[in-house]
């Protein structure tokens, strides 16, 4: 699996980015979520995989017994997932509000604030 997961991660990164690059709001959101998922998988994979052995000290022992998975990426990942959830939830609601306010689902309709308009030459 060590060899396959990087490819899956890459695939998820690519898909996420591809969706983000679209103009449609909904695809943007899907893309963001996929991108986050890919990031999580990336962290998980980079911490070396261990089949089975979860990082829980077995009954009757006081120290963890090999083989067990590296708990550090897991802990990081947990935090990252939760943070990602908070931010994604916000993003989803934001998209909804944008849709409500502008009545469009096309990102290209949203460039009033930062598009630099060249006034006609005097």
């Amino acid at each position: 699996m060590d060899i396959v997961l990087p490819f899956i991660t890459g695939l998820l990164f690519a898909t996420g980015l591809y969706l983000i690059l679209h103009r449609h709001f909904f695809k943007l959101i899907l893309g963001i979520i996929l991108f986050g998922l890919a990031t999580n998988l990336f962290i998980f994979t980079i911490g070396r995989l261990t089949r089975g052995g979860s990082p829980i000290i077995p009954q009757g022992s006081e120290v963890a017994i090999e083989p067990y998975a590296d708990p550090v990426p897991q802990a990081l990942l947990l935090t990252a997932i939760v943070i990602g959830f908070g931010i994604q939830a916000f993003a989803i609601v934001l998209v909804k509000r944008v849709y409500q306010a502008f009545g469009t689902n096309n990102l290209d309709d949203l460039n009033n604030t930062d598009k630099t308009i060249i006034p006609p030459k005097e």
Partner: protein
């Protein structure tokens, strides 16, 4: 018994956190929230001042959270640079909160503005004080989500539009930062910055992999700091929220990004340094030029200021790119000065915007005659921004030029000087249009403001202007501090020894 340095390191984090908690408890009671926020801000200023004092006298302070020895738990570290950042942030925060009491509309205050700004400060303090790479990420996320919410607070159309871009790009940045942290962990098996710094200086480390890891940090922190090909979110969003909000995030946030860059690229990513620094030099040049040209192009008070943020980030990066003690000192001073000046300029634009109902330079005018005092305050900040002596902007610029010329980096110095002329040009554009020009006829009447409102709007501006003057006139104190901070930053052994307790 309670040990002081444990407390000192935590107060900048805990004070705003508790403030926010109490604000949440008094949801729907805005007046109470105002009071809490003010008290907490004041306490923050005192606490961070005490921290700076302690660091200045006792050297780097460290507390190992949870009492776990260094690489295993999370470490909070305060050296002079981070303490200075915390002080700067808390002073700015105090000014902005004071301004918000009257400068922000009530509905927005009702919907959690005070807890948000407090948590934002907590995030800033967290980024500055943490000694752990992943913890850095967490605090960046705190910052980020607070910014998301504050930028959208109120939900007007321009805000939403700016927010979509801001949110998307910054989520991407967080993803890249997290990936970068993953790579670093994958290479070294450590997250503690001091331990990483030690590991990276060992011959056994795979330098090229580390270089690869550093690119993730360049890009993700570069996005947060708004460097050249990555800054697009900033001009798209910073002018959309109300001034009280944009002044704080506009003044402070990108500098936090730069802080993190300086910290990481002096401490950890010191492999293949010539390559990285050459890249920084080029990026710094482009960032300055593109930013200032954007400012020259626009005719909106807030947009000009937003683009200037980008431009000034270039100067800060330039100091890092030159990489001498003097240049880092210049950057540190530049950050402190720039936070004050930029916040103050935003606040001035807020007063003008509030009293005149517009931010478009073409619609404004005559302020010089109507509000000479405001004009003076603006002039102080604007000239400081353009780096004119003897205001606060001059010294860092001078130091950077000096450091650059001493390091024989002539091109970037030349670029920076030309940019500062264009900066001056765009600041005088505001001055010409808003203050000197006769006001074009408009049918809008000025909303009246009572005395208290005016006092509360002006007080923070005066306060920040005094800070600017103080840094400018009593430059030795500021420069000396910045110089010692830079020495500490570059003498990484101090940091490593303090954290790992060797």
């Amino acid at each position: 018994m309670l040990q002081l340095h444990h407390l000192l390191l935590l107060l900048p984090l805990l004070l705003p956190l508790y403030g926010a908690i109490f604000c949440l408890f008094s949801w729907n009671r805005v007046n109470l929230q105002m009071a809490i926020a003010c008290v907490i801000q004041l306490a923050m200023v005192v606490a961070s001042g005490a921290l700076l004092y302690a660091v200045n006298h006792e050297g780097i302070l460290v507390t190992q959270l949870g009492n776990w020895p260094a690489p295993f738990g999370i470490t909070l570290v305060a050296d002079l640079f981070s303490a200075l950042m915390v002080v700067t942030a808390s002073i700015t925060g105090a000014a902005v909160v004071l301004f918000s009491l009257r400068g922000l509309d009530l509905p927005r205050q009702d919907y959690g503005y005070y807890p948000l700004i407090l948590m934002l400060q907590m995030g800033v303090a967290g980024v500055c004080l943490t000694g752990d790479l992943f913890n850095l990420f967490v605090w960046f996320e705190v910052l980020l989500i607070c910014c998301f919410v504050m930028i959208t607070l109120g939900g007007t159309k321009p805000q939403l539009e700016g927010a979509i871009k801001y949110v998307t790009i910054n989520i991407l940045a967080s993803g890249l930062l997290l990936t970068g942290i993953g790579v670093v962990y994958g290479i070294t098996g450590s997250l503690n910055m001091a331990e990483l710094a030690m590991l990276v200086r060992m011959p056994s480390i795979n330098k090229s992999l580390f270089l690869m890891a550093s690119t993730f940090f360049i890009v993700s922190l570069g996005i947060k700091a708004a460097l050249f090909p990555l800054f697009f979110w900033l001009p798209a969003s910073y002018h959309t929220p109300p001034i009280a909000i944009s002044s704080f995030i506009g003044g402070l946030l990108t500098k936090v990004g730069i802080y993190a860059m300086i910290r990481l690229f002096t401490l950890i990513f010191v492999v293949e340094q010539e390559l990285i620094l050459a890249f920084f030099t080029i990026t710094a040049g482009f960032t300055m030029v593109i930013g200032v040209l954007g400012a020259a192009a626009h005719y909106d008070f807030r947009k000009i200021l937003s683009f200037h943020i980008v431009s000034q980030i270039g100067y800060m990066l330039m100091g890092l790119a030159i990489f001498t003690t003097l240049s880092i000192a210049g950057t540190i001073l530049f950050i402190v000065h720039n936070v004050f000046v930029k916040t103050n300029l935003f606040l001035v634009s807020g007063v003008v915007g509030r009293l005149k109902g517009s931010f478009d330079l073409k619609k404004l005018g005559s302020q010089y005659l109507q509000r000479p005092f405001l004009a003076l305050l603006f002039l102080i900040s604007a000239l400081a921004l353009a780096g004119l002596p003897p205001l606060s902007g001059f010294w860092p610029k001078f130091i950077l030029v000096k450091a650059g010329l001493e390091a024989e980096q002539y091109t970037i110095v030349g670029v920076s000087l030309c940019v500062s002329i264009i900066t001056l040009f765009s600041m005088t554009k505001i001055w010409n249009e808003v203050f000197w020009k006769k006001q074009p006829e408009t049918d809008e009447t000025e909303p009246d403001a009572d005395r208290l409102t005016k006092a509360l709007l002006y007080a923070p501006i005066i306060f920040l202007a005094l800070c600017i003057l103080y840094i400018g006139l009593n430059a030795e104190a500021a420069i000396g501090l910045a110089y010692r901070a830079a020495e500490q930053v570059l003498n990484t052994d101090l940091y490593i020894n303090a954290v790992l307790n060797r």
